[in-house]
């Protein structure tokens, strides 16, 4: 909500224009606490799975929270990996909320037992976001892994039972679940939760499945129409502003907030411009550096550069540039498109044409913490036979002759 004086003085600008120059502290800070995860979602934007030995210690994480309190960062969005598998997760959660830093954390539900749910419901400064990418087990588990649908539903039931209201049900929109938007809404309503829809990005392992999972052009229209019809009841993290080029702008800032109002702290303390851009190109610094997080946010050359007014490039002549702003920086980067041109999913079709011309390697995410235990893709063929150069079978320990194996010639 924006509190604006009516009949404002002539120099008043739109909020979005003011935000282009950045804020003294982020509004929306994502903090991934660990790369460890019990799941291996095919589209994981941080390529999570295994813990990184360099992850911030409890004391280092608390020092970050102290900084956030001093900077008046009202709340952080904690994710991972699966943040709740960090042994000190609950300790950090309490520490943050005691220091006036509200926490919204994303989880697949693995640790949301009835006892945990009761504890969460009792803390006003905590919000929970359960991830679910299919309104049916079939659609969800194909992306998030077998059993993950039941796990999320159980977590939501526990939260609802504990009296937690208005927690979030968070869905990444894919080709396979766009048709289920109404069902997602029903699930959220059933548990007293609020539905949150976000965009699939070609980041992390998402790059590997993007071609197969990103919504088709007619599904983007379906999604846009659904958002226009349900906009005030559904959260989007402002992630669909590229769809505004269908016509009426969607609610929200309609601005790429990277380095301006949002950023990411990754598990080892690296600060990136946004959660979808884990690549050296968007690495601004590390919270363990001399200036701490505040130093990175306020002085990193990358962030200062991102806070310059956005140039439209190839998009500046498009009638929809004012609301679409050329779409998502990370989506362009990881599909090999120039940053000052159209989004790969540009609804006017300009991205598709450009994508066809992308040659050679597209940038890969900087880190990969995926589990190494993925099943082998195909059977390994083995032939069992006797070596031709041996006159007799190899001797085994159970051979009784004392001269076994001796070549007596």
């Amino acid at each position: 909500m924006t509190i604006e004086l009516q009949a404002p003085p002539a120099r008043t600008e739109r909020l979005v224009d003011l935000f282009e120059y950045g804020l003294d502290a982020p509004i929306c800070l994502t903090w991934e606490l660990t790369y460890a995860c019990n799941l291996s979602c095919t589209h994981c934007l941080s390529s999570s799975g295994r813990r990184d030995p360099r992850e911030l210690s409890t004391e280092q994480a608390k020092a970050v929270i102290d900084e956030l309190e001093a900077m008046q960062v009202f709340y952080v969005n904690i994710g991972g990996g699966e943040p709740t598998v960090r042994p000190d997760f609950w300790e950090l959660l309490d520490y943050a909320t005691e220091h006036h830093v509200g926490v919204k954390f994303s989880t697949n539900g693995v640790r949301i037992t009835p006892q945990v749910a009761a504890r969460l419901a009792a803390n006003d400064y905590v919000d929970v976001q359960i991830s679910l990418d299919g309104a049916t087990a079939e659609v969800n588990d194909a992306v998030r892994g077998r059993g993950s649908y039941d796990m999320a539903m159980r977590a939501m039931a526990n939260l609802a039972e504990a009296g937690m209201t208005n927690f979030k049900l968070s869905v990444v929109c894919t080709r396979h679940n766009i048709a289920q938007l109404d069902e997602f809404k029903q699930i959220a309503d059933r548990y007293g939760a609020q539905l949150r829809l976000t965009r699939l990005r070609p980041s992390g392992r998402g790059a590997d499945v993007w071609d197969d999972l990103h919504p088709l052009p007619h599904q983007q229209r379906e999604l846009y129409d659904w958002l226009v019809a349900n906009g005030d009841q559904v959260l989007t993290g402002d992630s669909f502003f590229h769809l505004s080029a269908f016509g009426e702008a969607l609610p929200g800032l309609n601005l790429c907030g990277a380095g301006r109002v949002v950023c990411l702290i990754d598990p080892i303390g690296d600060v990136y411009a946004c959660p979808f851009a884990i690549h050296d190109e968007f690495l601004a610094g590390n919270v363990l550096g001399t200036g701490g997080f505040a130093g990175v946010w306020r002085h990193s050359p990358l962030f200062l550069q991102l806070r310059e007014p956005q140039q439209g490039g190839a998009c500046s002549s498009c009638a929809f540039f004012d609301t679409c702003k050329g779409g998502c920086m990370a989506a362009k980067f990881f599909t090999g498109l120039p940053l000052d041109g159209p989004d790969p999913e540009c609804v006017q079709g300009y991205g598709e044409a450009l994508l066809a011309g992308v040659r050679g390697e597209v940038p890969r995410p900087s880190g990969d913490h995926s589990h190494r235990t993925a099943p082998a893709k195909r059977p390994v063929s083995v032939t069992i036979s006797r070596r031709d150069d041996l006159a007799r079978p190899p001797v085994s320990f159970c051979e009784e002759s004392p001269l076994a194996g001796a070549d007596l010639r």
Binding site: M1, I3, E4, Q6, A7, L23, D24, I27, F74
Partner: protein, 98 residues
Amino acid sequence: MPTATVFDLDRAWDLHPQVSVRPEPFGALLYHFGTRKLSFLKDRGLLAVVQALATAPTARAACQDAGVGADDIPRYARALTVLARSSMLLERSPADDH
């Protein structure tokens, strides 16, 4: 939680105790930890009025303390009404000691 549906300029007001204010170059951010709603004040003058509420006997006096001219007071009253409706502001007894 009591919610003010009507804003009276001649009564004493204050920020809701669960609201934090963060000044920014363009004005300020307000965050309500109870409703988890974020609001933006697009004007430093409005920020000054909001900050003056706690110590002023009435909202009108807070406007005057912040240097708002008589002609501009109705505009500020409308902005404060929006804040009161979203529970960012609460009416307080004028005797409250701050």
